[in-house]
């Protein structure tokens, strides 16, 4: 069943020491601010680490799409550990493997390839959000 009113929680990793963490953050911003502002909501991972009640309530009410920048998959683990449902887990490294011509660099400031990869990931996130809202669920649902 289609659920056009359904907001989707977007949880990017907080990766601070690696380029792909910055890519996940930038992709989440592009999704939430530019691509699907009406249907998505950003949830900060740090709030989940602390067990913040409001953040957990958002996850209890909304399916989540996680964006991880490394194999440790903190965002996905934290959503599951917070009682949320991961409808789709997006791995930036997978997107990179499909776009090996891009050479992302930088953490505080992504280079052009990093921003391009973030744009690619944001597009995948938008598709995942649309599928979830159309009632098709996510790949990991």
């Amino acid at each position: 069943m289609s659920r056009p009113d359904r907001r989707v929680a977007i949880v990017p990793c907080s990766g601070i020491g690696k380029t792909y963490g910055s890519v996940s953050r930038e992709a989440a911003y592009e999704l939430v601010e530019d691509l699907r502002p009406e249907s998505t909501e950003l949830v900060a991972l740090s709030l989940l680490v602390l067990g913040d009640g409001e953040a957990r309530a958002v996850l209890a009410a909304s399916p989540a799409v996680t964006v991880d920048g490394c194999k440790l998959a903190c965002a996905t683990k934290m959503v599951k550990g917070s009682g949320g449902t991961v409808a789709r887990a997006v791995d930036v490294l997978d997107a990179y493997r499909r776009n090996r011509h891009l050479k992302p660099r930088g953490i505080a400031d992504l280079n052009e390839d990093g921003r391009t990869l973030a744009h690619v990931v944001a597009g995948e996130l938008a598709e995942a959000v649309d599928r979830i809202r159309d009632g098709q669920g996510g790949d990991d649902a």
Binding site: I16, G17, A44, L45, V49, L50
Partner: protein, 245 residues
């Protein structure tokens, strides 16, 4: 002293994605890690205290740690203390901004001018804490107000931020009395002692105690029990390695 990683200060930023102040914490931490004190600082992603292993959770016990929060919820400070170790210093961007007459900070994705000023002021405050901690014996400090502004971003060539994510500081748990105590770097210390040909005897016990103390807080008033436990564990380690205890 064993050949352990040289002493550095840990920086844990909340990185809160939904607030501009969260972006300030991230950029200020990176400013220190990449430009201002690249050789003296290391960082870890906050979620790893839960999503990572015991080695990740040992972070704040191994490195004197400065936490940087964007708001009064103090996620980084509280989570670090709860899951890893008490931070040596803690700061909040909203307070630093207020003290410096900066604001309002806007733009989580693209900081406005006030946000960039807050990055500079916060980076300066972190740097002050790092310098004090590197000069001080192990212990906490109260972050001091900064008299001079931090160098502007771009004033020196950045290097890659040193990330401890998943590096897994080696930990070995020792029973001291009835209490299991995870001790950071103990496997490295044991290995160093073994290579130096030190046997499991009384003179080694006191040496082990002093070395372990550099990287760990041991229970107060339990020196004798600690030394005995370390000696037993070292003897077991030598046996595991096939060496003569």
């Amino acid at each position: 002293m064993p050949d352990l990683p040289r002493r550095k200060v840990g920086i844990v930023a909340c990185s809160g994605e939904e607030r501009a102040e969260g972006t300030v914490t991230r950029r200020a931490a990176l400013e220190v890690l990449e430009r201002l004190r690249p050789g003296d600082t290391v960082t870890i992603c906050l979620p790893l205290f839960l999503a990572g292993g015991e080695g990740d959770r040992a972070f704040a016990r191994f490195y004197p740690t400065v936490t940087v929060d964007g708001c009064e919820k103090r996620c980084a400070a509280k989570a670090t203390e709860r899951y890893s170790g008490k931070p040596a210093a803690a700061m909040i961007v909203t307070e630093i901004a207020k003290e410096n007459g900066i604001g309002p900070i806007e733009g989580p994705r693209q900081l406005n001018e006030a946000g960039l000023q807050a990055v500079s002021a916060t980076a300066g405050r972190i740097t002050d804490c790092v310098d004090v901690l590197l000069r001080s014996p192990r212990g906490g400090i109260d972050p001091m107000p900064r008299d001079t502004a931090a160098p502007p971003p771009g004033s020196s060539e950045p290097v890659g931020a040193t990330c401890a994510c998943g590096s897994g500081l080696p930990v070995r748990t020792v029973a001291i009395g009835e209490m299991p105590v995870p001790l950071v770097a103990l496997p490295l210390i044991f290995e160093q002692f073994r290579k130096a040909g030190k046997g499991a005897n009384q003179s080694t016990a006191s040496e082990l105690l002093e070395t372990v103390r550099i990287y760990n807080s041991l229970p107060d008033g339990a020196e004798r029990a600690c030394a005995a436990a370390l000696l037993d564990e070292y003897a077991a380690f030598l046996a595991e390695e096939g060496a003569t205890p």
